[in-house]
Structures are given as C-alpha cells and as structure tokens.
C-alpha cells in the first residue's frame, strides 16, 4: 500500500492537516499523532529524516515551523518519500505563492484536494504539478 498517512504538524505539535489511508479511530489517531510528533520533534537536524514507529516508518521533513510527516510501509524508498514531501510543498507553493502555514489552515480543503490528486489508495499516482493543480484551478473558476 505504501503511504499509510500524511500529517502536517507544527512545532507546537498541533495538527494542521491529517490524511489517513487506512481507517483509524479518533483515539488511535490522536495517540499516534502525539507519539510520532514527540519522537520527531526530539530529533536534531543532523539525524536521519526517518524514524521507525511501531510498524510504520515515518519520513519527515521540516519547513519553517511546519513538519510534514509521512507514514509508510517498510519497503518504501525513504528518500523518494522525502522528495515526495518536497514535491507536495512545491506544488502548494505554486498554487498559493510563497505558501505558509496559514495558507494551509485557511484552505484546508484545497490542500486536501491536492493530496487527493497526488495520492490514491496510498500510492503516488500523480507527480506533474500542472496535472495536480488543473482540476483545482478549474474548480475555483467554476
């Protein structure tokens, strides 16, 4: 399945976006997010951008105050996921223009729409920025 969840969490550990590709209850999500964020926040910049957690591998990347965390299966290419995160940020940046945390907060649904275009069933299905953004722009105009 590949990607199991995508989280955006800020430095204070507050969730800014959460998308799960398998069903977890509210409590499970809450617990998982807490544990993961605690783990990742404790790490230094020099350390790997990968952390094992339970049966997930977390690939994370920090942009300004916002952490992007992607939970993947064990046989996923971690470096590629790391770059997938960057692709996501670049795509958001193209859409919002100098994207910041507040953009995502104000346009939560749009951030989700972009993810919907990029990832389906936990697989990366689209990596062309124009393909990702076209439907969203069309919808905005409509």
């Amino acid at each position: 399945m590949g990607i199991r969840f995508i989280l955006m969490v800020n430095k204070q550990g507050q969730t800014r976006l959460a998308q799960y590709y398998e069903y977890l209850t509210l409590e499970e999500r809450r617990a998982l997010e807490g544990e993961i964020v605690r783990k990742c926040l404790a790490r230094t910049e020099q350390q790997c951008s990968f952390v094992e957690h339970r049966n997930y591998k977390i690939v994370y990347r920090r942009y300004a105050s916002l952490f992007f965390l992607v939970g993947v299966d064990n046989d996923e290419n971690e470096l590629a996921i790391l770059e997938f995160i960057h692709l996501l940020v670049e795509t958001m940046d193209r859409h919002f223009g100098n994207v910041c945390e507040l953009d995502i907060m104000f346009h939560l649904e749009k951030a989700h729409f972009m993810l919907e275009e990029m990832v389906m069933n936990g697989c990366i299905v689209e990596t062309s920025k124009s393909n990702i953004l076209t439907p969203i722009q069309l919808m905005e105009k409509a």
Binding site: E78, L87, C100, E109, H112, M120, T134
Partner: protein
C-alpha cells in the same frame, strides 16, 4: 511584486476572510493558529463544537455558509474531537450541484467515515449519479470517493460504471478509474476477472494513466510474478523512454525525468527479474543507463540510485552492475548526510546477500553508524549486522544487540530485537554455555516481550542436551544452567516467563548433580513463589518443581523433610482460588506421602523428554465398557448426537449448553449422577477430580498430566505446553572450522583499508587534520573500533582463535603500534572530519529548505528594496547578519541560515534585528497605507475589530517575510514561507 500580492491577499483575508470565507472562520483559524498549548486549543474546539451544534441544524443555511461549517467540522475532528453530530450534513453536501460544494462534501465524508459506516449507503446513489455526469471534474470527485468509501458489498453498485470510465476521453478520469479498480481489487476477489484491464491501461497514451497503472500492477506482480513475465519488455521500454526524457516536461522533478515513475518501474523489474536470468538480462542495459544518468548530488537522484541498487541486488546478478552498485553504496556511506548513510547501510544489507565481501571495505563506516547516537541509523545497522551474522561474529553482534536492547524503552523495538537475538543465538551459537548465558540475558531484560515458544525452546534445549551422545557434556550444561539461575534468582523483578524457565530447570535438575541439597533448592523456589505471589503461573511452576525435587529425593531413598516455609506455602495454595494451584498443591501432598516405587512411576527422574503416549481412544477401557454393556448399562452417546436436554451426567457441558440457550437458569440443577462411566471422566479431565475416586492408576495419570503440563504435553492447556513442532535443530557444537591463517588475514585488510582511506581523505583534509589530531579521546576510540571491526568483519574463524591468540595479537599490535595504529586512526579522524565538515555545510538538497531558497530568498529582498527606500538600514543589517552567519558557505545556504536559525544565532544578532524592527514597522505602515488606499472602495476600515488590526497582521507578515525573525507577539510562524 509577488510580495505585494501576498500582502494584499492576506489583507483581503483579514477583511472578508478571503475567497468568500467569513470573518468568523478567519477568527477561528487564527485563534487555533495562535494557541500555545493543547489545553487552550481544546477549549477553543469545545466552544466551536457547541456553536456548530446549535447552528448547523438551522433549516436555511446558505450553501456557502454550510461549506464553511463542514470545514469547521473537519477541523474539529482533525484536532482530535468528535464531530459525528455533523456527519449527516457532510453527506447531504455531496448531493449539491455545485462542484466545489460537492467535492468538499465528498472530502469531508472520506475524512469522517470509514467504509463500513451506516451513512455510506446514503452516498452510493449520489456516487452512481455523479459517475455518469458530463462534467469530468464531477466524475473525478466521485471516483475519489469511490476509492475511499466503497466496500466489498457496494462494489457491484458502481463496478460497471467504473469499468466503463476506463475508456473515458479525459486522462484524469481514466487514471482515477484505474485506481478505483485497484481499490476494488484490494477489497474483493470478485473483480479478479478485470485484471486484464490493468495490462491494457499500461499502454495508455497518457503518462499519468500509465504511471497510475503501475500501482495495481506492482501489487499483482508482488503476488504472482510469473504471470507477468511477458511484460518485462514493456516495462523496460517504458523505463528507457522515461530515462531518455520522452515524458512531458511537467513530470520532471529537480531535473530528473519522472523519478517517481522510474522508481516504481525499478521496483517492478526487481520483482520480475528475481531468480530469472532470462528476464534479468533484458534489464541490464536500462538499469546501467539509469545508474549512469542519475545525478548523485540531488536527493531524488540518490533515491533513484538506491532503487537501482535494490533492483540489481534482487535480479539475477550481473558483475558489472554489482560493481556499480557497490560504488554507489560507498558514496552513500562516505557521505556526511545521515539520510544517505542510512540508505547506504540498507543497500549494503541488500547487496551483501550476493557479494558477501563487500561489507569488509566499509567496516569503519558501518561501525560509525552503529555507534551513532541516532537510533534510526543504529537500528538500520543492526539490521545489516543481522544479515551478515555468522558463527564467527555472532558473539560480538548479539552482545551489541543485547546491550542496545537493555538501553531502550520502546517495547515494540525491544521485542523485535530480542527475537532477533534469540534467532541468531539459536542459529549460530558457538557454545552451549554461551547460548544459555545469552538467553538468560534476553530473558532477564526482555522476558515479558519474548515469545513463549522461546522459553519452551530453551527448556527443551536444556532437557534434551544437544542431540549428541555426550551425557557428561549435557549434565555439565545443566549444572551450569542451574548455577546461573541460582545466581539470577535473587534479582528483583524478573519477568514471569524467565521465572517459569528457572523454576522448571531447578525442579528438573536442581539437585541432579548433588551439589545443592533439596532443601536449598526448594527454599529458593519458595522464595520465588512468595516474591511473585501475584503470578499464578510462576507459583504453579514452583509447586510442580517442589514435587519433582521431592520425588527425586524419595526415589533416591532419602527422607523428605519439607521446609517449614514450603509447608505453609503448599497449605496456603491448597486453599487457593485457582483450581490449578489447588490441584497442584494437593497432588504434591499426595505424592510425598507415597512410597519409593510409586513415586518412581509417577515422576521418573529426568524423563521430561520421554514421549508420553496418549491413548486417545482409551482402548484400555474397552474391556470395562464391554462388561458394563453386558451388565445392562446404557451405551455412550457422543456429545454431538444428543441435544441440550439429554440427561448426560457431564453437568458442566450441559450447563454451558443450557446457558447458551436460555440465559439464566432458575430451577435447581439435578443431582449429578454417580461418576460411573470412566470415559466421561476422561472427557472432562480437569475440574472434576474431586468427584473421581482417587484410585492409584487414575491418579498417576493425573499427576503425570500435571507434570507434563509444565513440560511436554499434548493434553494440558495450550499455554503451558512445550511446543516441539517447528523447532529445528539449529545448533550444535561450536564450529571451529577454519584454520589459523585467517586471523592474520582478517587483520591485514583492516590496516590496508585504513591506509587506502587515508590516501583518499587525508590529502583533502590535511589542514584540518592537524587540529583534529590533538583531540585525544576521539583518536583513542580507533583501536577499539578497529578491534570491533576485526571481530565483526574478520575472516570466518577469527573469533575462534581469539581466545588463544588474544595475547599474541596484542603484543603484535604493540610492536607495530607506531605505524599500524597510526594509519587507521588517521582514517577514522579523516572520516570524522568529513562528517563535521558536512555538518556545517548541509548539502543543499538535504533536510529542509535547500535549493528552493535560492529561488525565493533573493526575490524576497528585491521588491522591497525597490519599494521602500526607507528600509535601507534594516536591509543592510540583515544582509550583514546573513553574511556573518554564512560567509564561508555557498550562497544558497545563506537564506537557509538566515531563516531557520535566526533564533539560534548569537544574541547579538537578535538584538540588532529587534532594534531594527521599529524601522520596519514604520515602512510597513507605509505599505499598509498604500494598500488600504488601493482597496479604498471596499469596506475595509469597518471590518477590522480592535483585536485584529490589519496593520498588525501586515506588519507581522512583512517582518516575517522579510527577515525570518520571530517577533515576540502571537504566532508569526504562521506566516513563514515554507519554502523560503
């Protein structure tokens, strides 16, 4: 200009919520964004829940407003609170005609509900309708929902339409239809007839559809590679085209052509080429092409390179490719980036299966990773060590693993690494003694986490010996086990499973070699039972152990003197709530009152390995049954044949049966019939002992059962039985196989390697080296590392010789100390130097805001410069600051440091920045003025309440965008460019 635009945009957001969002929504988001604690956030969300509960039921909410409410519900759930009161409204929104509202509705529903939720049924109809829509965006929205909400039962409702959509004229629809089918395939076997569609869509002329199709194909090939061998050529061709940049430019990522598609194709090829020479040969060219083309200076290039290595190590080996792979790995390992080291270690673990020698040249790098404080890297390295364990290095590796296991708290990983230790120890144990010591450690520190089977294996090992006809060695092993357990037993808080092993071993062999008296052993056991009085299993093991010790005493013709404390323990247990403990206690009392002959029959000494024949059909009773039948007894009716009301005397099962039918039963039970038929006794063995006359033979059977329950039994509770199945005889005598020359063999390559590394690294860093050399402690580690390297990577028999030649080696090393020790030291030093160097200078593409800063920081300065001449002083000081931080760095890092580590910088820079803030405020005020005039016509002024000053937000924004500084008020992080 871009800057101005965003400022304007945020201003607009500040005024009317931006893009039609309300002021209220803005306030909510802002207040959430500015909270400093979880408690504060919870308070806001709870208040929000109350508000929405009141408002959302209002019958005439404008649609726009409803959409906003739905997003607010999403917020509530995202922040960990229940928003189920609003689910139905999200469902309703999917029915809306407006695309934006519909898609928002679908999004909310997919976020809220799992596929088995009751409300889904209300959406299926809408989905069906939307799949037929003329607007392809509506179809796409519906397909997104299909992928999340359709479960096995509802698949048929949409399947025909989805299949039809595979031929849709819009590529976006085809792509999503493929993924919907992929989802169906994951959920249900009923769509397997549609699998050919995936093959067909691989040839779609849109690269997006093709790329998506690789996902289901990957899954299919993972399950059954053989059915897809015919596609090898297609995949190779596609990969070739991708690598040759035949795909649209928009798929490029950081100058790499469609890297994510390349990676998936390489994964597929790895599966198809596994163990298939013919298929693999078709891949060699394209893989080596990609190896050549990949840019190893970017992250994505390395990601593809890593995938190439995975592919190469999985397909039929090709020497040339393996060589290239090894080169890439060594580049990864030598890199200063932890991420690349991690990938390198992982890749090494893959390649080592094919070329086992490759690890040796990287030994120092591996050891560095092993000793790195970063847990992720450490664990990956353990993974590698696990793969390269052999009997010559098992001791070092397992010792390291155990040390690490003791040091961590994460029980998930502790369990994992404990099982790894056990596995390695079982496979490669050089000696039995070592094995027992190792297992003791594992049990002592992770006993609650290891599988019960492991304990049973250990008991079995001690009981069976080592499959050789060497009784002396076996009994020596047992004595050493007993001794070690007697030593450990006093430790506080041992895990239950370990105590069970200890009790069992002490019971079986505690007095076997005559070294310890029965009273000593039983005394120890008694202590255990008392210290762990909550643990019934341990107590049960202890009592049974008593019984065995006493039985062997009786059998040896000695008089049993039960210790007073044992006596009281047994008495206490005979009144225990646990019937099992009670039974054991009574049996113990019964056994010790028997004579020598009987005891020998019941509990023969050291018979735990004897097979116990279980006469399942109870043939021995045939005569008896025959007699009874002849005497007019009723024939036995198997339980399955009589209904719940039959008058079977097995009241227990009847009771259960009745209970299951009627619930409570209020009438009195019939009196149990006299326990005549012994077969019934056999059927309901355990709890009915009191009803059974305790005649000698049956008793002996019972006690036997108890005894075996603790060791090997087919009958007792499954938890307690020793599992013999599936246990291979993995161990044996130590394999001191190869001869002494390899000792020298293993040490020379080290030094040689060290020297070569010095050649490479020291030349480059000769300047820094002199300063590093003075650092004594780091240098001193190296001989240790050297030794570790030797023991890990050394020739196959290195360890075997260690015991005898240790001194010899030391002296040898002593003699050669000057040059020999120097060289490897230097190598280590140079290694560290590179690490440190790169720490200062993160490679531009790694971790964070690398390259993009190049693009965005420069423009972020320019427009303002043009715009506000007044800003100059700040500007200068800021750039000066940057300069101070990053003078020695390459230009693109300046931005990074200016932004990311502003707070971490020296306080002086902080001060200079804050003092400059006034100027900025001033200039920002100017901008504000201009912008507000631009918006003059709108209702700007009235829309700002006291708290939310546009000036504030602008000021904050400008400040932040400008300098990446943290003003003390509110939460400026919200405004920081993620890529800036």
């Amino acid at each position: 200009m871009e800057q101005l635009k965003t400022i304007g945009r945020e201003l607009a957001m500040g005024s009317q919520g931006g893009f039609g969002q309300s002021k209220e929504f803005l306030d909510l988001v802002k207040s959430i964004g500015e909270t400093r604690s979880k408690a504060e956030e919870d308070r806001i969300v709870l208040h929000e829940i109350e508000t929405l509960k009141r408002r959302i039921t209002d019958p005439d909410i404008p649609k726009r407003k409803m959409k906003e409410y739905i997003i607010r519900l999403v917020y509530i759930e995202m922040l960990g609170h229940d928003a189920s009161f609003g689910y139905i409204h999200a469902v309703k929104m999917t029915h809306d005609d407006s695309l934006l509202l519909k898609r928002t509705g679908y999004l909310a529903v997919t976020l809220f509900l799992n596929e088995d939720h009751d409300l889904i049924i209300l959406i299926v109809n809408t989905i069906q309708k939307d799949l037929r829509s003329d607007n392809y965006l509506v179809v796409c929205a519906a397909l997104n929902a299909v992928c999340r909400l359709i479960n096995e039962e509802t698949i048929p409702a949409v399947l025909p339409q989805v299949v039809e959509l595979l031929g849709h004229s819009k590529e976006a629809v085809r792509k999503k239809a493929i993924m919907a089918l992929h989802r169906f395939y994951q959920k249900s076997s009923s769509v397997s007839h549609l699998v050919p569609n995936f093959r067909k869509k691989l040839c779609d002329n849109d690269p997006g559809v093709m790329g998506a199709t690789l996902c289901p194909l990957f899954d299919l090939i993972t399950i059954d590679a053989n059915s897809y061998k015919d596609l090898v050529v297609s995949f190779v061709t596609i990969l070739k085209q991708v690598a040759e940049r035949r795909l649209p430019k928009s798929y490029d990522y950081h100058q790499m052509p469609a890297p994510f598609i390349q990676i998936r194709l390489l994964k597929i090829l790895a599966l198809l080429g596994g163990g298939d020479k013919q298929a693999s040969e078709k891949m060699y060219t394209v893989v080596s092409d990609i190896f050549r083309k990949c840019d190893s200076s970017s992250n994505i290039g390395n990601a593809v390179l890593y995938e190439c290595i995975c592919c190469v190590s999985s397909i039929y080996p090709n020497p040339k490719l393996l060589e290239t792979a090894a080169e890439v790995i060594s580049k990864f390992l030598k890199s200063g980036s932890h991420n690349l080291k991690y990938m390198g270690i992982d890749a090494l673990g893959r390649l080592i299966k094919i070329s086992p020698d490759i690890a040796e040249q990287h030994q120092l790098a591996v050891i560095d990773c092993l000793e790195d404080p970063d847990d992720t890297l450490k664990r990956k390295t353990f993974e590698l060590l696990y793969k390269m364990t052999k009997s010559s290095n098992v001791e070092v590796i397992v010792d390291r693993m155990i040390d690490y296991m003791i040091s961590i708290n994460d029980s998930h990983y502790k369990t994992y690494i404990a099982s790894r230790c056990v596995e390695l120890a079982e496979q490669f144990a050089p000696s039995n003694h070592w094995f027992i010591q190792t297992m003791n450690k594992v049990f002592e520190y992770a006993g609650d986490l290891v599988n019960v089977k492991v304990a049973h294996n250990l008991m079995r090992l001690i009981a069976e010996g080592f499959g050789e006809e060497d009784d002396a060695a076996d009994s020596q092993l047992r004595s050493s086990a007993v001794e070690s357990y007697l030593r450990i037993i006093g430790e506080p808080k041992l895990p239950s499973l370990f105590l069970q092993v200890i009790c069992w071993v002490l019971g079986e062999y505690g007095t076997a070699d005559g070294k310890y008296s029965a009273s000593y052993i039983t005394g120890k056991l008694c202590d255990v039972a008392e210290a762990y009085s909550d643990d019934e299993t341990v107590k049960a093991y202890a009592v049974t152990a008593f019984m065995k010790v006493y039985a062997s005493e009786i059998a040896a013709g000695r008089k049993v003197d039960m210790l007073h404390e044992c006596q009281s323990l047994v008495e206490e247990l005979s009144a225990s709530h646990s019937t099992d403990l009670q039974q054991r206690a009574y049996e113990l009392q019964a056994v010790i009152s028997l004579d020598k002959h009987a005891v020998e029959n019941i509990l023969p000494s050291d018979a735990s390995c004897e097979d116990i024949e279980v006469d399942k059909n109870l043939l021995l009773l045939d005569n008896y049954v025959q007699q009874s039948l002849e005497n007019g007894a009723q024939p036995y009716i198997p339980e399955s044949e009589h209904s719940g009301l039959s008058n079977i005397s097995n009241f227990r099962s009847q009771d259960q049966h009745e209970a299951s039918i009627h619930g409570l039963r209020f009438e009195a039970y019939e009196l149990p019939k006299p326990p005549v038929p012994p077969r019934i006794h056999a059927a309901s063995l355990e709890p009915s002992t009191e009803l059974v006359p305790v005649s000698e033979p049956s008793y002996s059977r019972d006690t036997h059962q108890v005894e075996t329950a603790a060791s090997i039994s087919d009958m007792g509770s499954s938890e307690l039985k020793l599992r013999l199945d599936g246990v291979q005889k993995k161990w044996g005598r130590p394999v001191y196989s190869s001869s002494s020359p390899s000792t020298s063999n293993s040490t020379t390559p080290n030094t040689v390697n060290g020297v070569t590394q010095v050649d490479g690294a020291v030349n480059v860093n000769s300047k820094t080296r002199s300063t590093r050399d003075s650092r004594k402690p780091q240098v001193e580690i190296s001989p240790e590392k050297q030794k570790l390297a030797a023991s890990l990577f050394g020739g196959s028999s290195q360890i075997d010789k260690r015991a005898t030649s240790a001194n010899h080696k030391v002296t040898k090393a002593g003699i050669h100390a000057p040059e020999k020790a120097q060289a490897p030291k230097a190598a280590v030093v140079s290694n560290q130097v590179t690490v440190e160097k790169t720490n200062h200078q993160p490679s531009p593409d790694l971790l964070d805001l690398g390259e993009p800063t190049v693009a965005s920081t420069t423009p972020s300065v320019d427009p303002f410069k043009q715009l506000e001449g007044l800003l100059d002083p700040t500007q200068i000081s800021v750039t000066a600051n940057h300069g101070a931080v990053g003078t020695t760095e390459s230009p693109d890092i300046i931005g990074l440091y200016g932004n990311a580590s502003a707070s971490g910088q020296s306080s002086s820079s902080e001060i200079s920045l804050t003092t400059n803030r006034d100027d900025v405020n001033f200039t920002v005020g100017l901008v504000d003025a201009t912008v507000s005039t631009a918006h003059a016509g709108t209702t700007l002024p009235t829309q700002f309440p006291k708290g939310l000053n546009p000036r504030d937000s602008l000021e904050k924004d400008a400040l932040v965008r400008h300098m990446g500084v943290t003003p003390s008020s509110q939460n400026p992080n919200l405004f920081r460019d993620l890529l800036g």
